[in-house]
């Protein structure tokens, strides 16, 4: 089982869009896939038309009162399941802190699913919190969408420091440019120059496009309803890049 966390300290950079579309592509390739919407906003849950409700909330999950597989809901797409968001996730930091070894809380919940899913995507809320540390501990790959802007890169460097300082199992950090607007000179310049300075950057760039907003209207992954669009093809390329990267996605022992 490979755990991929779509994570950035900044919000609004395309984490949910990436998590939703890549999870769809993983399932479409035949790999049983789970997407856990950890963001109390529940955007991924909404896109899949699932009610943002987990019985007992985050507290019941973390306390082990309710096994995580009872919270799982099948999406409309074969091989893709979801653990929905719940508004109680806004307090997940507190709930984690109540447990022993709080940083391992998410990992503990995911381990029993190792025989069932080949990929688990974690759609994470923005911020740098105990929940973020717990996600980093559980992740084999930390997938970081970056808008090609100076401040985004500063935040990326902060994230790398955060990862370096956290109790982690050395996940592979893979960043990619998201919502890149080729009409903006800064975007073009940074896309061209930054990969040399940031080896974690993927070659694939996800372009900004109005059609992405259609996901919210249609409540479908972009790659499902507009597979020939530029961002959809870019997500396909990103998925191919992630799954054939030389250093390979780390496998959970």
């Amino acid at each position: 089982m490979i755990v991929i966390a779509a994570y950035n300290i900044k919000g609004g950079v395309g984490k949910t869009t990436a998590a939703v579309n890549l999870a769809y592509l993983a399932a479409r390739s035949g790999a049983p896939t789970l997407l856990w919407d950890l963001d109390p906003q529940g955007a991924a849950t909404y896109l899949f038309r699932i009610k943002p409700k987990v019985r007992g909330g985050g507290r019941a999950l973390l306390a082990g009162k309710r096994p995580i597989d009872q919270a799982i809901r099948a999406s409309d797409y074969d091989g893709l399941d979801l653990v929905p968001a719940d508004f109680s996730y806004r307090n997940l930091d507190l709930r984690l802190d109540e447990r022993k070894r709080p940083v391992r809380g998410i990992d503990r919940l995911l381990r029993p699913l190792a025989g069932e899913y080949e990929y688990v995507f974690l759609d994470c809320p923005p911020g740098a919190s105990l929940l973020s540390e717990s996600v980093l501990y559980a992740a084999d790959i930390v997938l970081v969408p970056l808008i090609p802007a100076t401040l985004s890169l500063r935040t990326f460097d902060q994230l790398l420091q955060f990862v370096a300082g956290a109790e982690v199992r050395t996940p592979s950090v893979r960043a990619f440019f998201s919502m890149a607007d080729s009409r903006k000179r800064m975007h073009r310049d940074l896309v061209a120059t930054m990969p040399a300075a940031r080896p974690q950057l993927a070659a694939t760039v996800i372009p900004a496009a109005a059609i992405v907003e259609g996901m919210g209207q249609r409540r479908e992954p972009l790659v499902a309803f507009a597979p020939r669009s530029a961002p959809a093809r870019a997500y396909e390329a990103l998925w191919a890049e992630l799954t054939t990267h030389e250093s390979g996605p780390g496998r959970r022992p």
């Binding site: 035949g30 049983p32 899949f48 038309r49 699932i50 009610k51 597989d69 919270a71 799982i72 809901r73 099948a74 409309d76 399941d81 409540r219």
Partner: protein, 508 residues
């Protein structure tokens, strides 16, 4: 975990799920696909392993689809398949991971085939989320009900329950526990029985011994007849295994109780079944070797697995050569005559329902005698006893076991199971002892044949030497265990043990 699907038999003609929309509670909508006519082919092993496991495996000409007992559905692209399909040839993936452990080493055969029209529908809730799938399978046979399956998506059992309840309220809808495969089998020429058909199950203590033995032997004759075509066509190794079990038990029962049958019966058929045993042995021995090949490779410590490739190639060639006389024998007039004459003889014996001795009397006498032999030889076994003595004990234990199983319908079930369990612990060790020796000799013989054929390479010969040594060690280990296992057996069983099998001594 996936939800268990719900099944219904729907007597409406047409079977269009769109007609069910009005039945659904408000808030649900149905989205129906186009009709699709298809050939429906369910696959299973000869002995119905998938059916018994509650698994449906369907082949649609391009893919294999499995529906597991808990509702999980798996599919794999399969292209054009040739049946019978060896279990090792099932395309790799999640489906194979589930199916192969159930069916191996048997091949998949066409269990039932028919033509149906399929309509599928997706049930959506008020958020337009798909919560269940409906599949209507409309048989080509006029008047046959449509099979409707409601499969909840994971986490939406409550929705499927609500729909199921609504459907069950319709006068043209009958809930059924039977899935599509079981339903299709109802109309098939060959169907699984809930228990194997056994005439011997009808054995009673008071019936004549002749009649009882004839029933047992008829079951074995049926097993031979049923498995012979699969041996001839080389569908999978289990056909020959089951055929040989029937031959071996026939020979044993004839030896141990055949005197209750008319004298001419024993005289006429003992040699014929010896012939059948002899003609089937070489191929069976090679089947076992080939089946155990991965385990043999695992025993190598110095040699590499590839060093045994010439041995494997030799075994496959040798098996093909040994199959020729086997197939000739099973296609021969001699075998056909044996089968028909044997049936006729048994039919004659089976009609002699009453008379002495009774089944219970013969059971008590022969089972006790066999047990005494085992005890007598067992008590004499020491760590220094020669190999032939140990082999002698193995044969007596086998005879004792066959007699127990022959008369099982008459025995107290608890006493019977306990004794079989105790005997099995001794037989397992004796079997390991025998296997070690037989396999070591076989490896030596194979090595000689490979050398004679000019195919000998030093690494292969050395690897085979390593195997022979491992088999020797296996035999020695079994020998070392034997004393303790025998001691336990002898402590736990005595003359009263067999009396407990038929507590009334079979009084009628």
């Amino acid at each position: 975990m996936p939800e268990r699907p719900r099944h219904f038999l729907w007597s409406a003609t047409g079977g269009d799920p769109a007609e069910l929309a009005a039945t659904l509670t408000p808030g649900y909508t149905l989205e129906t696909s186009a009709r699709r006519s298809q050939r429906r082919r369910f696959l299973d092993t000869f002995d119905w392993r998938l059916y018994r496991a509650g698994v449906e495996l369907e082949y649609d000409g391009a893919s294999l689809q499995a529906r597991m007992p808990g509702g999980r559905e798996l599919a794999v692209a399969a292209g054009r398949l040739r049946l019978p399909l060896p279990s090792a040839s099932i395309p790799h993936g999640a489906l194979a991971e589930e199916i192969v452990p159930i069916v191996a080493p048997r091949a998949l055969l066409l269990a039932v085939e028919d033509r149906i029209v399929v309509r599928v529908a997706r049930l959506r809730n008020s958020d337009q989320k798909v919560v269940a799938r409906l599949r209507a399978s409309i048989p080509a046979t006029p008047g046959s009900p449509t099979h409707l399956t409601v499969s909840a998506l994971r986490g939406y059992a409550a929705d499927a329950d609500a729909v199921g309840l609504a459907l069950a309220g319709r006068p043209d809808m009958a809930p059924t526990a039977v899935g599509e495969y079981a339903e299709a089998l109802r109309h098939a020429a060959r169907r699984p029985a809930t228990e194997p058909d056994s005439l011997a199950a009808a054995m009673t203590p008071g019936m004549s011994a002749e009649s009882a033995i004839a029933l047992v032997l008829t079951d074995f004759a049926t097993a031979m007849a049923v498995n012979a075509p699969g041996v001839i066509d080389d569908i999978d190794p289990e056909f020959l295994h089951d055929f040989r079990v029937a031959v071996r038990r026939t020979r044993s029962v004839l030896k141990l109780t055949g005197d209750v049958l008319p004298a001419h019966v024993q005289q006429r058929f003992v040699d014929e079944f010896r012939w059948l045993g002899d003609v089937t042995t070489p191929v069976r021995d090679l089947d076992v070797f080939l089946a155990e090949f991965p385990e043999l490779i695992g025993r190598l410590t110095a040699a590499k697995p590839d060093d045994l490739a010439p041995l494997r190639a030799f075994l496959i060639r040798h098996r093909a050569a040994q199959r020729r006389p086997l197939v000739r024998a099973l296609r021969s007039a001699r075998f056909a005559t044996l089968q028909s004459d044997w049936r006729a003889a048994l039919l004659g014996a089976a009609t002699e329902r009453h008379g002495k001795p009774s089944a219970a009397q013969i059971a008590t006498e022969r089972v006790s005698a066999a047990h005494r032999k085992v005890i007598r030889i067992g008590r004499r076994i020491t760590p220094e006893s020669p190999g032939e003595t140990v082999h002698g004990l193995r044969k007596r234990c086998k005879e004792f076991r066959y007699l127990l199983e022959t008369f099982a319908p008459l025995h107290d079930p608890a006493a019977h199971s306990a004794l079989i369990r105790q005997l099995k612990s001794v037989q397992d060790v004796l079997g390991d002892f025998q296997d070690g020796e037989v396999q070591r000799q076989a490896i030596r013989s194979f090595a000689e044949k490979i050398m004679a054929g000019g195919g000998a390479q030093a690494p292969s010969m050395m690897a085979m030497g390593e195997l022979a040594a491992a088999m020797d060690a296996h035999q020695l280990a079994a020998r070392a265990q034997l004393a303790a296992v025998l001691k336990r057996f002898l402590r736990r069983t005595d003359r009263t043990t067999t009396r407990a099998l038929l507590p009334d001594d079979g009084a009628v």
